[in-house]
Symmetry: C2
Subunit: 125 residues, 2 copies
DNA sequence: ATCACACTACTAATGAAATAGTACTAACGC
DNA sequence: GCGTTAGTACTATTTCATTAGTAGTGTGAT
């Protein structure tokens, strides 16, 4: 019935972001990093990392005491798939529609927003 | 523990897209529209629309026989929030990082991709 | 008036995502 | 050698998203 998430779920992404930043990590490394932001159990992180391994996002090698995990796919590829999924789902594949919204982001300067708007017009040609 | 979805879930979005397209609708209108694509129960659509009303995305007026639902928030605003959530979650708020990925979308022409890349450089200044 | 039909309200079931506990194992320090 | 600590495997639980069923109500047609 309900389809499993086609890319990374929010929590899976949070964990992958830590790992992409740190490179090769143990469960403990990720656990410590996440705990700086919020409370989470060690075993929760472990479970998530096992799932990520099952899904092919992580590979592990048995080193010394604990397993060492590292990304199995480059960040660009995974995030690119997430962008694609988002554009398809929300904008039916029309990237330019997404740009229109980015142009409204008020964390950008007026100048930057104008540059994006200019680009949108160009893409429509 | 688990946080509810901050914006629209995939199925909620699918329904809102129909309603934004059709304007004011009954449950049946949406049901018929969705059924053209896939099998779904009438009551399923009704439940989703009730949830969307609870969440403040739809308002209903009692007309004739069935309720008539219409969008409570403009499409631009809702989709804009989804974009913001996505950019925050995936790119820590950096819109330009998103642009880099859009520039790789091979549904665009080489010319369009170059234009986006040019914009990315401008944004970084 | 009553039957059929459409709609609603309420409730239920299922599945996935997220969180975490418990029992077991291995290594390290002393 | 043995206890303490860190790690793992397995399992359980909870919540949210999604899907749908059932009973009840009201209206229109005949």
């Amino acid at each position: 019935m309900r389809r499993p998430h086609p890319t990374l779920t929010p929590q899976e992404l949070a964990i992958m972001k830590v790992i992409w930043r740190l490179g090769s990590v143990t469960v403990r490394d990720v656990y410590e990093d996440l705990r700086a932001e919020r409370t989470i159990a060690y075993t929760t992180v472990m479970t998530m990392m096992r799932i990520l391994e099952d899904k092919g996002y992580l590979k592990k090698t048995s080193a010394d005491r604990a397993f060492v995990y590292s990304p199995a796919k480059p960040r660009q590829q995974v995030v690119g798939a997430m962008v694609q999924d988002f554009v398809d789902r929300v904008f039916d594949g029309a990237s330019s529609s997404l740009l229109v919204h980015l142009a409204k982001d008020n964390r950008l300067t007026a100048k930057q927003r104008q540059a994006i708007e200019k680009l949108v017009k160009e893409l429509e040609d």
